[in-house]
Amino acid sequence: MPRLQSQTALKNILKTYFTEMRSPIAWCTSAGPAEILRALGFDVYFPENHGALLGASRIAEKYIPRAHQEGFDGEICSYLTADIGAWLMKETPLTKIYGLESIPKPDLIVFNTNQCREVAEWFSYFGREFDCPVVGIFPPRYLETVHKADIDNVVAQFKNLISIGENVIGKKLDPERLAETLRLSSEGSQLWKKVLGTASNKPAPLSFFDGCILMAPIVVLRGTQICVDFYKDALSELTQLVNNNKGAVADEQVRIYWEGMPVWGKLRSLSELFAQNNASVVASTYCNSWVFDDFDISNPLESMAHAYTQIFINRGENTKLEMMMDLIETFSVDGVIFHNSKTCFNNANGRFGLPGRLEKETGIPTVSFDGDLVDLRFFSEGQTETKLETFFEQLKG
């Protein structure tokens, strides 16, 4: 039995999402303009979700070597290598879980390089495989300040996407439908923020490891009523736990910030390791990536351009430091763990001295460990366990 009832409800939601997905289907990156695609009338599929599923179900090691054979390097994104490898072997965990014959066939493929350039290569590969139109949004990258010119740039690219999308779907974008989709996205996102915000309580009723499961709707169903309803229920369940003073881990003694990607194949064992050490992961950059404060239905394209361009992963190191410091304060964090995800260059944020600067600014200890989002060959169980347990001891003093 999952600890949270919401996790059980989520299973049914995802089942419906996958089994009822119908053409026209658009593929989209997780922080891409899914609202535009939904408003155009596409069902939206997210390959990153599939990558995470391959990692979490620990079957990726079967597929990654197949992608290597095809010339995809072992040190590039393991979502990409696992996903392309699975495609080449004509397999998907969606068959076993939801009875799908294969991954959904795209009518349009859309990516946003606000997170990395790997998505461009990954999605373009499938564009060639399916002989499907591919639209890339290439925003300015690594911004400290987001200027109007940056937003104008992205808005122009959104307009181009709309025009291509309209051609594929055979009708014009309905502005009212876009506004309504954005309204639902905004509401869902704000509820997700509140769900994560419950962890600011002591003890925290949910941890990062719960968040990695509960985040599915804000990624794959953003802009739908289902997503909104799900987080209303989740919030109510978590608020109840707060009222009853029930923490995600027993006798919470240390409060951790998790920086970087999850180790999808080790969610459970890491979650247990933290719990055994009375350590709760109360905040993370990752789960917060889908908190969008800027959506504005009176100005859909500009506000979306803002929201998707100013996400953490697309920012400069100074801004990243400030964003982390805000969360550290809000969530009363005792220590920060940097996951140095070896195949995720763009979301391994400890490589340019950020941990040291953060320690200096906040006085809060940090530790980094090597691992990966999907490819467990980069993860050393014994070393990581020793490192994390020592870190917990250090924090307990």
Binding site: S380, Q383, T386, E389
Partner: protein
Amino acid sequence: MSDYFVGIDLGSSYTKFAVSDEDKNLVYKAVVPTLSRNKDVFKNELEKIRDKYSISKICTTGYGRNSFDSDIKKTELVCASVGVSALYPEHKCIIDIGGEDIKIIESGPKGEVLNFYMNDKCSAGTGTFITEIAEKAELEISEMSTLAKTSNTTKVINSFCTVFAKSEILGWKFNDMPIEEIARSIYLSIVTRIRKLPVKTNLAIYLCGGVIAFHPYLKALISEEFNVDITVPDDSQFIVALGASVLAKMKK
């Protein structure tokens, strides 16, 4: 009869036993190979200890700490910090070179871990690295330090990969590089790996772990590299086990 406390450090190469008294004094020590299939060696050692001392608590540490049913389990970093502090209660930096990893620990006077670093995956530059490379170089481990002292070479092994490092050694052998130069070069390779780690040279530096017990000349080379005095505690190989035994006492 007074109480005694056992620390067992199940490291990647050897398992070290330490027994301490109420005053944190090391009263007994023993070492057995960790990788032995013969589990009796471990059991016999423990029985020997139990026969001799009235054991109150046991703490296990090291890579295999969870494979033994003990009263408490602590990581080897925490134990190293407590172990060195039992002898030197001051703010210090500990360099622990083990079989498969190198750890740098900033340690408080009471043994508290204030900060630490350890390698994650590649074990180049650790005990196992030396053993593998020395074998390829046809060097006796026991002679390495004495030989290395007589050379002035500045040559180091370039590769981070132990397998490729062995190929480099092969090349040196083809070129008739003197054995004492090879010995010193292997040590210098270790020093170049430690050089990139966050060693706090403004603090008193202590060197412990199995490697320094077998390769005493490394102390001089590391001292030279960082331009600081370095202390190697007595029984440096047993410091972690001693720390574990002290923690066993605190569990009381």
